[in-house]
Symmetry: C2
Subunit: 230 residues, 2 copies
DNA sequence: GAGTGGTCTAGACCACGGT
DNA sequence: CCGTGGTCTAGACCACTCA
């Protein structure tokens, strides 16, 4: 009982909860009790229970003690996939090609999504992502040149636009939304699928501090699924 | 400098990273250095840096030190939405109706998805979720009666199948996959949309220990988007 | 081998929130 | 009030991994 690590204790307590030893909403023992039971210090138990709280398994309140969450909050944590990694992890050769690259005034809907003042110039790109030379995803992207003026000179032959931006504007918030889209004429042609086919689609706007950096829409080839565990 | 908490230090270091004080891939100071700099113990710095590692901001290696992630791992964390809550948070009245409820032998594909031995009986349900009496989502669900035999007697008038299962089989792993689907005849009729429309679709299999509990597919009404922040 | 992170401990004090 | 979790400390030992 003395080789107790905070991870081991966390797993042990989680197992006891899952097994039904305590029911939903039940109060479970306090830190000192667990410390005595597992023969370790309270600090270690504290870490274990805090981790379980982060997992959403338990709720903790001072004086109120620790209780099993009445309705487990099913939190999913998954990495937003990077297309290159997705393709390579499937064992295919990855390639990408910029099909169009222009400087334009963005459409009105984009002005509100990206909070652009009137007259802001944007770069507009269309790219195709290939897996073993087969279309994997099609990308439409706007880049806010007020935030990232150097993008106009970016060399996108060695790095994709996404990778270039990540390297240049490191950490940012992002809004993501997932949806299903019917393929229009251009998408059908680009992805070599039937017009009207249902595509899994990811929209993503990223921000550096309070300024928008880029908004992209990624249309995955037909049949693509985004899978993860909870 | 002596009111240093692990959260405060975490925020301070994160700010210094975001501000560009250290670049992508750079080695940042060690725990003892930070402890001296912020006037706190190494333990506290350790917690702060471990938290940053969980956030995906830094990578840590023994002997190798702590460095800013070369390519930030954009981790998304979001709650798998419960349909009732989605509808209610949009300000609509929620209702659900079970349209079909049978005991059947599952199709072959399900036998492998849910790891069912041959001959396992399952409950099959079709339900519609309504927002202000308009179709919001259509659900097909299989329940493994070997794992949850009491489901045959479940009263699904007060609780939805999902809520009943969550209350009865508390904590479970789950596999989720998101995709786009074309509406077939039944879906088009149920959701009152055009045949072939692109729908956002969520498949979810949940497990209790090593046994499958249920597999459901949720077809959202046309135009639905799942949004979250990273 | 030596430097770094990973972890545990025992004790201490604080902050919150039911009673 | 007082019990509970939240946190910090100082020191210690271990484990990994790079040079």
């Amino acid at each position: 009982m003395n080789n107790a690590t905070h991870q081991g204790i966390r797993d042990a307590i989680r197992t006891r909860i899952v097994s039904g030893e305590w029911k939903l909403g039940d109060l479970i023992p306090g830190e000192v009790d667990f410390a005595a039971h597992y023969g370790c210090s309270r600090t270690t138990v504290n870490r274990a229970l805090q981790a379980l709280a982060e997992e959403g398994i338990v709720e903790r309140k001072r004086k109120g003690g620790t209780r099993v969450r009445p309705m487990p909050a099913p939190q999913a944590q998954f990495r937003i996939p990077i297309v290159r990694e997705q393709v390579e992890s499937l064992g295919h050769a990855y390639a990408t090609k910029v099909l169009k690259r222009e400087i334009e005034l963005p459409p009105l809907s984009l002005r509100s999504d990206m909070q652009l003042p009137a007259g802001t110039q944007c770069a507009y790109l269309e790219s195709i992502h290939l897996a073993d030379d087969q279309p994997f995803a099609f990308e439409r992207r706007w880049v806010n040149l007020a935030t990232v003026p150097s993008f106009v000179d970016a060399n996108l032959h060695e790095l994709s636009a996404n990778e270039w931006l990540v390297k240049t504007v490191p950490f940012s918030r992002g809004d993501v939304s997932l949806s299903g889209t019917s393929a229009d004429n251009q998408l059908a042609e680009m992805l070599q699928i039937q017009n009207g086919a249902a595509l899994f689609t990811m929209d993503r706007t990223t921000w550096f501090e309070d300024r928008s950096v880029t908004r992209m829409t990624l249309f995955y080839r037909q049949g693509y699924r985004l899978s993860f565990e909870i």
